[in-house]
């Protein structure tokens, strides 16, 4: 609990100078959390911090441009803040960053697959286990089993940028080799199988654009290419082609920008593993330009710049 106490103390100290602080509070049941907007000292008591605080709150930051706001970030969320700063979508002096060293958050889909979550009565954390109380009795699950995929290969548990840090900085104990494990699995298939794989996954897509709306780097808001009539990138047809087009469109607009926070996949109501599409581009960007989005504030994102001689690009000579 000491992380939470430190957070509350830091927020109390800063609240005067900001219009609001964004954190997490209990949602409609104890298994779900929801973003909390702290505007007055009384709101601070509702703040919580535990592995259920899944949301990347940095998604809200571009909305508050022009106002000074405080934000709570985990290690992964801090990368989004850095990327937003790099693209000048937010100003450094307009954000107060409360960093939290994070040991990983849960993937609710993984819990739902193991426990019937329709009537959760209580949730508690005991060491590295989560105990969920339902009318059928109490179920204990090891946290390691239900951690979000991004946490299993997390390289940045401590925020890379912060004004206040709650607790001691921790370093990653996760093997970096796992970072692209799922991508590599798909790469091993031949093109026909790959197409069949995506066809099977993407046919579930209902184009609700939850992935876009949750994405902290989708900042076009009302000017999204997917909604444009001219050019008409996407029609109102319901075929698989439009679903492919949408997912590729999103991934390409994130090329060299995606910080791998996993909000797209978490928000997907059809549980489609869409983060893999973004991850594939991240992998190529890393190989080509040695760049990881949201890690270094000083570097220009690779697609916003160029080199006259590209050492990594082997252009085809016909």
């Amino acid at each position: 609990m000491e992380i939470l106490d430190k957070l509350k103390e830091d927020i109390r100290g800063e609240l005067e100078g900001v219009s609001l602080v964004i954190g997490w509070e209990r949602g409609y049941d104890s298994l779900h959390t929801t973003p909390l907007f702290i505007r007055c000292p009384e709101d601070i008591d509702r703040l919580i911090w535990n592995p259920l605080c899944v949301h990347n709150l940095a998604s809200y930051l571009p909305w508050f441009k022009g106002r000074r706001v405080g934000i709570l970030v985990k290690g992964c969320d801090s990368r989004t803040v850095i990327q937003l700063l790099q693209e000048r979508l937010i100003q450094r002096e307009e954000v107060v960053i409360f960093g939290i060293p994070c040991q990983g958050v849960v993937d609710l889909a993984k819990i739902r697959a193991r426990v019937d979550c329709s009537q959760v009565r209580g949730v508690s954390f005991k060491g590295d286990k989560i105990a969920i109380e339902t009318p059928q009795g109490q179920r204990e699950l090891p946290l390691e089993e239900i951690l979000a995929t991004k946490c299993i290969s997390c390289q940045y548990p401590t925020p890379l940028i912060y004004d206040h840090l709650a607790g001691e900085a921790i370093s990653s104990h996760r093997p970096p080799g796992l970072l692209f494990a799922e991508v590599e699995k798909i790469e091993k298939l031949d093109p026909k199988e790959r197409f069949a794989y995506w066809q099977q996954e993407l046919q579930r897509c209902i184009r609700c654009y939850a992935c876009r709306n949750a994405c902290p780097l989708c900042v076009c808001q009302d000017f999204c290419a997917a909604d444009a009539r001219d050019p008409h990138w996407l029609s109102q047809k319901t075929g698989i082609g439009e679903k492919f087009m949408w997912q590729i469109l999103h991934a390409i607009h994130l090329a060299g920008r995606c910080t791998d926070c996993g909000e797209c996949e978490r928000a997907c109501p059809m549980d489609i593993p869409i983060q893999r599409i973004r991850k594939k581009i991240n992998k190529e960007i890393k190989e080509l330009f040695g760049y990881e989005a949201g890690v270094n504030l000083e570097v220009t994102p690779p697609l916003y710049t160029f080199q006259v001689e590209e050492p990594a690009i082997k252009e085809r000579e016909w």
């Binding site: 093109p191 995506w198 990138w233 590729i248 390409i252 581009i281 080509l288 697609l303």
Partner: protein, 146 residues
């Protein structure tokens, strides 16, 4: 050359106005024989080619897409093709992940004076697409992408 011997495929070419389009013109003026599968779309610069244009072409049923611009350092707009090179390289590595075979998309550089080179590029690329065949045959299990 091709139309009589084999079924024509749909290949889309995005050519920059200043070099490759001129190169294709030079090839035509010089009466070099070329396959006729390629449909040319003239763009101001290879930097104008949004990767999504390529994706959209595939989704609309193109069997192959070729982007061609000025040689690096020779861009009419000084640096358009440098940006294009980065984007197109990422796209080229990404498309196979979604199930579009490697080789269906290529980018290259042809200058306005290189008529012979244009002939070589278009012939080789067309042959490459013919080896891969139409992008989705009806009834191959995958079905039509549309």
């Amino acid at each position: 050359m091709s139309g009589m011997e084999r079924k024509e495929l749909r290949i889309v070419g995005f050519l920059c106005n200043w070099c490759s389009y001129g190169g294709a013109d030079t090839a035509g003026v010089s009466r070099f024989k070329q396959p006729t599968d390629l449909r040319i779309i003239r763009v101001p610069c290879s930097g104008r080619v949004d990767p999504l244009l390529v994706v959209k072409a595939f989704m609309e049923g193109a069997d192959g897409v070729l982007v061609s611009g000025c040689h690096p350092r020779d861009c009419h707009y000084a640096e358009g093709n440098f940006y294009a090179r980065r984007r197109l390289e990422v796209l080229k590595r990404f498309l196979p992940f979604m199930g579009i075979e490697p080789g269906r998309f290529e980018y290259t550089w042809v200058s306005a004076s290189e008529g012979a080179r244009w002939q070589k590029v278009v012939t080789e690329f067309t042959n490459q697409i013919h080896r891969l065949g139409p992008i989705r045959r009806k009834g191959d299990g995958g079905g039509d992408i549309r």
